[in-house]
Homo-oligomer: 604 residues x 2
């Protein structure tokens, strides 16, 4: 008998798996997985984001979820493929309430990775393509309202005579993208943004900022960037795009508005949220409103609140001090002394901006930093999924996102190490120069590089777009080590070195996302929800135990009806659909039994 | 020998054709066309828009253009196909200065239709996909300007210290779409728009207006509508889209600005144009400027200036009178008598709006009208190229536009007649009801229907979205015949009938596009350019002789460096690329010998 084709192999596995589940033979189904194996489910079975690792966890997760989910119709999608001993195939499936898509990888006939992900709720599909609205109701309809009148009516009623089902705090990229998803699903949502215009959270950053991720990684859902969009978007251009997007998607987006406080009303099973609207209100005057949404989504930025370290003497400094989030441009610092504390992305960008404007700049590096050259990173780490070449290979944004999602976090470091090994070799000369200048390099504790650092701690790296050259050749001075204290005219280092400064920029990062919960709800709720982001890898700033998924992101939390939406543009695009479907299912009263709600191991 | 495949047949024809042209055997090349045959060239050979009809004209056009164009590299694109005796194939080719695409149809081995169309200029390609800009210049660059600073600089310099190469008059859909094309090609252009916001030319129309063409036909270049965009866009929604598009495309778009006069300076070979800017000027105050562009593009709307008929007594009418372009909503006319003069799209929409708002409405039909039910029209006339089904069949917007362009105007009526015959049959009951109500129907003089009417005269039809039902059952009263005069309290018809009115809406269409040339340049130039639009079909409002292409649209005119851009969204999308490439080629000093500049047979 000739060996079965990859397609036949995948379909056979799916058939067997489906049959085992149908007869509730969960041990049998789990035995179809290999010794090292993962089943990552995005909402469709678990109403959670959850990776089961190994046969035992897989069996438990199947046993707990399959009776509710009632999966069926496991169908190969397109053709299977085989490479390097791994047989791979896309598939579709259904549950009782949803349609899903997945990716299966088999080694030696057993599953290595299985991804199952929700795509849409049956009966509540997005109204697109052949389902799109007609726009005009043909025929004659006395008293009919035009699109504009309906829009104007909604602006007067939503949040006033009609409560939003969800309230999204923060109208940056996270809030806007989630808002678009909710709008398409018909979930009434208000997005509250403190700035006067959508996109201002980008516009307000330092002048030279460009996205460090390339355009293929950054597309927003529903409306991809045009084909001539720059690889790295300048911040004002992405700001304008977000503003346009907000309007075109017809979001119920409140500008110049701020949430002052929020409290869960357990009796009514809803939130009570105090919101100040300073402009563009229906009345024309500033208003303070109490909103009563069922769900509260924090889209306040994964960077949370700016984090300023405490050093003795900070209050006595005679020059200016700014957190990096408040730094705009180096123009007025020509010929003056500036110390930038920090050695991650913002610190490097700000040093370069200051140097380009003629300032005398010193970077203070307090701990090792991972540096990856942008071109190399694009090429080695992202190019396979997010690049012009990937698009030509038929890997569109959706496909890339699902492939990305199919790699379990547990297995990811081992897959990343060789990529960064190659980077080290390719850019050996570059790293040698940096080290010669005294720069303290790392590639992550386990040499797994940038993306793992991002997932574990959201910091600790610089994607080099030019500033490393300045550091390497001393045009930007470098001082490594600990800071002793701030003096009236500069920084005193622990080794006794004095760094005179007219300006100190604290590029020292941001506090926990969770800080916003403490600020707007209360500390008890923040503690109950616990630390956000990170995997529990047991590496620096990501203490164990291992959790297997990002903490609290895009999934139910220990506080009922409180959600966290955030991340980079890629994550917001991909995970926003999951958040929106979880909210939509609840709004429509579908059963949403959450499997393995994550326990809290760390407060913040 | 087995019969050759369609692909082989097409490639063989292309090879033979290419060889004949290479040895300047134009008679031989022409002999490869059938007795009834057409070669339509869009710019690539002729630097004009020109259809050669029959072997003799084809031979002449080849002989005149091939020595300059130096075509080569005729390559089948994808697979050929065969249906109903017609073998068809897409192909690419090059000329000395450009790359082109075409569509060939063969009957019995001879060409029936050949389309050749320019796609891009060699060395001046749009910077997209792998050629897209990086967005940030990596490395360090003292004094570098951010994207925002460069944009702000351009707003201060273009039209002030730097002259635009092209000035586009009118910032409706035509000006915006052409502006986007020019921007992508790096042609400095200013677009002058009288309204305060892009999109206002749609917003300012009557409240109930929706596009009568479906979304698949309406996409703008570079940024297609999202997949949930309504089939028929409400006017305010399309207005917002145009405004967003203008910003995202970074057009140099002057709002609240008006061209007061323009004059060709033959010595300097440039235009001298007086422009008033009332808002958003660099100085902040209203400004009057003299611009000196090389090219002047009228994108003032194919409808030109509102056309009011002259009837005795109009000035003595005691009620209100409005041209349809000035009508907003029927809200304030509840219970009052309104006469709408006209029976085309606007007249019907306005009658329905008035009736829905409780007015007592009478439509005055002065001549026969073609009515096509929207659903039927979508289905029979557009569905094959512009529909969800077409998209699923792999016919994307570009492909649809080229297929559309490949059908020569001369051959089109014969292809349209059966479509409208089918429409008559399918909607027989509907037409019977309308006729019973006294409505005067036609299907065009030769029964070729709506699209031919649009091409020949741009008027004479209604796409029914509901108003015909009101006319048929008398809820909107109908009066056919000639108007004798306007009296103080209504209209007096030639048959003696008196139509009392509190409001008369003159839905009487628009003057020639050419009227804008007379208004802004002078009558002599308007006469020199001559009538715009229409084919010379010898039917009503489209006098002969036969011209074979729309007069003066998107191609060189008898006035040097004066261009007309307009039409529906489909035409603007498709032909704007041709206008932009014609301008770009001239800007770059490429040879652009125009073949057969159309003579003028009619002044307006």
């Amino acid at each position: 008998m000739p060996p079965a084709s990859p397609s036949a192999t995948v379909q056979q596995w799916l058939d067997d798996f489906g049959r085992a589940l149908a007869r509730a033979d969960f041990a049998g189904a789990a035995s179809m997985f290999g010794d090292e194996s993962y089943w990552r489910d995005l909402v469709s079975f678990t109403w959670n984001i959850k990776t089961a690792e190994g046969r035992e966890q897989i069996r438990d997760m199947l046993a707990a979820t399959v009776p509710n989910a009632q999966p069926s119709a496991w169908m190969l999608l397109g053709e299977g493929s085989e490479a390097g001993g791994v047989t791979e195939g896309w598939f579709t499936f259904e549950t009782g309430t949803s349609r899903g898509k997945g990716l299966l990888r088999l080694i030696g006939g057993k599953a290595w990775t299985l991804l199952t992900t929700i795509q849409e709720l049956k009966g509540f599909e997005e109204k697109k393509r052949e389902m799109r609205p007609k726009g005009v109701e043909h025929g004659v309809h006395p008293g009919r309202k035009s699109w504009l009148e309906e829009k104007q009516d909604r602006a007067k009623t939503l949040g006033y005579t009609e409560q939003p089902y969800a309230l999204v705090l923060g109208g940056g990229q996270a809030g806007i993208i989630l808002g678009a998803r909710l709008k398409k699903l018909g979930v009434p949502a208000v997005i509250v943004e403190k700035n006067p215009r959508a996109g201002d959270s980008w516009r307000n950053r330092y002048k030279s900022l460009c996205l460090h991720d390339p355009v293929w990684y950054d597309h927003l859902p529903y409306l991809p960037f045009p084909e001539d969009w720059p690889v790295f978007s300048p911040k004002d251009k992405i700001g304008d795009w977000l503003e346009m997007y907000t309007k075109v998607m017809e979001l119920d987006y409140w500008t110049s508005s701020e949430c002052k406080s929020a409290k869960w009303d357990d009796a009514k099973q809803e939130w009570e949220v105090l919101v100040e609207r300073k402009a563009d209100t229906p009345s024309g005057a500033p208003e303070t409103l109490t909103l009563r949404p069922k769900h509260l989504v924090f889209a306040t930025g994964m960077s949370g609140v700016p984090s300023l370290p405490k050093y003795p003497g900070m209050e006595d400094f005679k020059g200016q001090q700014a957190h990096s989030s408040g730094f705009r441009t180096g123009v007025e610092w020509k010929g003056r002394k500036v110390v930038v504390v920090g050695s991650n992305n913002s610190a490097h960008d700000i040093c370069a901006d200051l140097w380009e404007n003629g300032a005398d700049v010193t970077m203070v590096q307090r701990s090792t930093t991972h540096v990856a050259r942008s071109d190399t990173l694009m090429d080695l780490a992202l190019g396979g999924l997010y690049s012009e070449a990937a698009v030509k290979n038929g890997i569109d944004t959706d496909k890339a996102d699902l492939i990305f999602a199919s790699l379990p976090y547990k297995a990811l470091p081992a897959l990343q190490v060789p990529v960064y090994q190659q980077m080290k070799e390719r850019d050996a000369e570059f790293y040698k120069k940096l080290e010669r200048a005294g720069f303290l390099l790392d590639f992550g504790e386990d040499d797994s590089g940038l993306f793992m650092k991002y997932l574990r701690r959201g910091s600790g790296y610089y994607i080099d777009v030019g500033a490393s050259e300045l550091v390497a050749d001393g045009r930007v001075k470098l001082k490594t080590g600990a800071i002793e204290r701030v003096e009236a005219d500069g920084l005193l280092m622990a080794d006794g070195t004095k760094l005179p400064a007219d300006l100190i920029v604290w590029a020292t990062g941001y506090g926990s996302m969770n800080g916003w919960i403490a600020k707007l709800v209360d500390q008890a709720t923040a503690d109950k929800v616990g630390k956000c982001w990170g995997l529990g890898s047991g590496t620096k700033k990501d203490p164990g135990p291992w959790e297997g998924e990002l903490r609290n992101m895009w999934k139910p939390t220990q506080q009922k009806n409180l959600w966290m939406q955030g991340g980079n543009l890629h994550q917001n695009r991909h995970y926003s659909l999951l958040v929106a479907l979880q909210l939509k299912a609840r709004m429509e009263g579908l059963p949403t039994p959450v499997y393995a709600l994550a326990p809290v191991h760390h407060k913040a």
